[in-house]
């Protein structure tokens, strides 16, 4: 299978978790599918939530809901079926996080006394992923080609950023690569679903590393009713996989890029 591969990096990143907003905002540990779709959409110039809102509530004297409602933002319409793979780097797939505190003093951000909004955000530091976008039926004709051309020629319509526009994304080493179907796999290097997948009880750890096992409920889709996230737990670990537990479904998503084993989510 052909795929587009590129390195995605930045000084900092922030992918807001929607379930907490009282004291501080927290971030997902890795870029998630929806944020990545948004980033790819920005490169191609597709509309986002703002454009969706403008379409649903046209700019008139008082914004009333339009007759034809756009269910999803444009970037999601285009990419929702796309298959991607995210390979985290850092220390065994871990990036340091730090709570950043800053003020929003524009005046209309807070109606409390003083009109100052204190914002606390947990940021990822020096994140770095290798991203693969599969060239398959998940992307409409021409979209993959256009995306590959844009990346290979370092072109982008909107600025790609990591979660919020405070965090510019650096996209380097774009390449079109041919991936092979995975046969026997010992470790999976990318984020993967592990519904059926299990890890060997006395299995190996990737050589030269301390144990690491990451699991988080991450957004994998948007729902049509209110564009809320649909969650699925994703794993990345350096524990050896129990071969017997790999299902047919998993095999359809497993590919190799040289030594690296990828799982397309």
């Amino acid at each position: 299978m052909r795929a587009l591969r590129f390195e995605l990096k930045g000084e900092t990143a922030f992918f807001k978790k929607p379930d907490v907003n009282s004291y501080a905002y927290f971030t997902y540990s890795h870029i998630h599918k929806i944020a990545l779709f948004g980033l790819l959409g920005a490169i191609l110039g597709h509309g986002g939530y703002m454009q969706q809102y403008d379409a649903n509530y046209p700019l008139t004297t008082n914004r009333k809901q339009a007759k034809e409602v756009q269910v999803f933002p444009e970037f999601y319409e285009v990419f929702q079926q796309a298959r991607i793979s995210i390979v985290p780097h850092g220390d065994r797939g871990y990036f340091a996080k730090k709570l950043q505190i800053f003020n929003n003093t524009v005046g209309y951000a807070s109606q409390e006394e003083g009109k100052v909004l204190n914002v606390r955000e947990q940021w990822l530091e020096k994140p770095h992923w290798t991203i693969y976008v599969a060239d398959d039926a998940g992307l409409a004709a021409g979209i993959f080609k256009k995306l590959a051309e844009s990346l290979l020629q370092s072109q982008s319509v909107y600025m790609p950023y990591l979660g919020k526009n405070d965090h510019p994304a650096a996209i380097t080493e774009p390449a079109l690569v041919e991936l092979s179907q995975a046969g026997q796999v010992k470790f999976i290097d990318s984020l993967h679903r592990s519904d059926a997948l299990a890890y060997k009880v006395r299995g190996e750890i990737k050589p030269g590393q301390g144990k690491s096992f990451f699991k988080e409920l991450m957004p994998v889709a948007l729902n049509a009713e209110n564009n809320g996230y649909v969650f699925h737990s994703l794993v990345v670990t350096n524990h050896e996989i129990d071969q017997a537990s790999i299902s047919e479904d998993d095999y359809r998503n497993l590919y190799c890029d040289g030594e690296r084993v990828l799982y397309f989510i």
């Binding site: 379930d19 907490v20 939530y49 850092g90 409390e112 890890y199 009880v201 699991k215 209110n226």
Partner: protein, 614 residues
Amino acid sequence: MIRDLAVGFQKAQEKFPAIIQDNYKLKEGVYIRLKLKQDWESQSAAFEKNHVTIVRKEEEPQNIELLNWFKCRDYLSSLVDMNKPVDPKKQVHSNNPFALFMKKEVFLGEKQGGKYTAEENINRYLLAAGRDPVRQKWLEMIPKNKNDKDNRQFFQASEYAVMLTYLESSERLQLIEEITKWYYSNLAALTEYIGQLSFKNYVKLFFTFDSSAPTLACERMYAFEYVLYTIPKIFNSNDYNQLVAGELVGLPNIDMTMNSKKPFLEHKTMGSQAPERVTLQQATLAKQTTEWLAAAKPPYATNKIGYESGFIPPTGYVPPEGTFHVYMDGKYNELYGFENVPFPPTTTVQVEWLNILQLKDPAGDEKYYGTIQDAEALQKTISSRFFRGRMNNSFIFNEPDVKAGEFTALMAALYLQSRQAFHDWFYKGTTISLQGIFAKVTLRLLVEQLVHVETSRMAELGDAFNLRLSIQMAIDDKGGKVMADRIKGTMEALRNKLVSEELAVCANDEEFYFMAGQLAHYLISQSRAQKITGEMYEPFLRAKNGHQLKKRLEEAYMLYKHEIFSGYHRFNQAFSLVLGYVPETDNQGSARELLLAGIFAYNLLFEKTVKGVE
């Protein structure tokens, strides 16, 4: 986040259904069990068997059975939040007609300027807990949709139908009436009795009754009342409720606010508006997870909770897991810190503390430090050696005070800069954030201590310098190893040159700066001042380049030349080594590090020449 934590909690709850109750703690106050069918006079004799008094910071009463009875009823009768009361005037803090929680002074009518009498409070409360207000609250949960008239029937098809039937039943109505009557005829006597007890904070009353119908058993009714109260209050606000695929979803109440004074908490252009919507089951689970966390884990501390082992104590083999780092505030149980760390809950940290500067102990033998075996010992050591003991348990949230001559402003700044990185190392076992800053931060801390901290001693700073080099080697094998090897190599080369009879010259900048440091230490130690302070080294550290450094050394020599024997071979060799060399780099970066290493290291000028070699 809560969603991730709930996964582990749910598994634990399936295994130990009483997990919340096991960790539940009663608030301070007097807890009394009352029989609804008897008046106060006839049951006051059995008071001993039907009450407990909870005093803060004292052990819970020994009567486990009674205590658990109260714990169970108390949990079921408590408010979700003081902002979600049943009593609109917030004087009564319980949630159902069978229980009555009031602050002592309100119940006894002792409160200064209290607006209502106890009777008024109770009557208002019982009215609010009655059928119509509760039914109204349930109806308010269902989103209004003109096109869909069936919505009103939503709960009839749900698991809550049985509670709603109970709400409409005549038995409930009758019980509330009986309770109202009981208060009417017994409240005065009860108040008088309670007034004589010694306790603080709360008066909590619980009614019991025997029921002929098993479906209306007392215990079950408390559970039903809990659901009747809780479900309409489980969402933060019912304004955001939606029916999605036959499920009611709404804005969660845990760690979530929608404050009209902060307009951007609402998503202005996104289709979702509210940041998140969860089902009733998820909201309930999140509530229980938070309750368990608040009860089982200490507030204002970073709690490490293994994905599964943190919820269910492991027996035998633990499958691979990461760790949640959770920091909660003690008042509102809000999450102040959360992180999903993909490493096991126990960190293995080991640092071999080597004597790279070849320091000697007072007896003249080479010092030996040993190995630092665990994160706790390491934190203590780093705290005492670099931060003058300021890095205590919750250092990640602390800001040390600046005190001149003891803990300088720069040290405080360095503390703030590096605390997260140290925290990541001690608590998570990753050096990813420490690697880039450790060498810089600790070198500046040592200089600062040398020059500005009055009580610092050279020997201790030398040990700290050794520790610093050892840690550098442990966390980042390349750069740290290089520096340690350079210092070792330089010392060896210089040792030979000092005893050499021929004219020696520095081979490189490293030798120059290291030797300059050694000379500085030697010259300063010639001082007859009562107290030799680190401040005396400042001129050398301030020198911008090799030229200035030589000047400072010459000046120091002029000052102390009367102490130095002119034929002292080692000294003369050393001075000529330094003066005869023009370094390429300025006194910064690794050159400066070697200068400091020279100052702190075992001084070659004091070394005795082994007899027979010369």
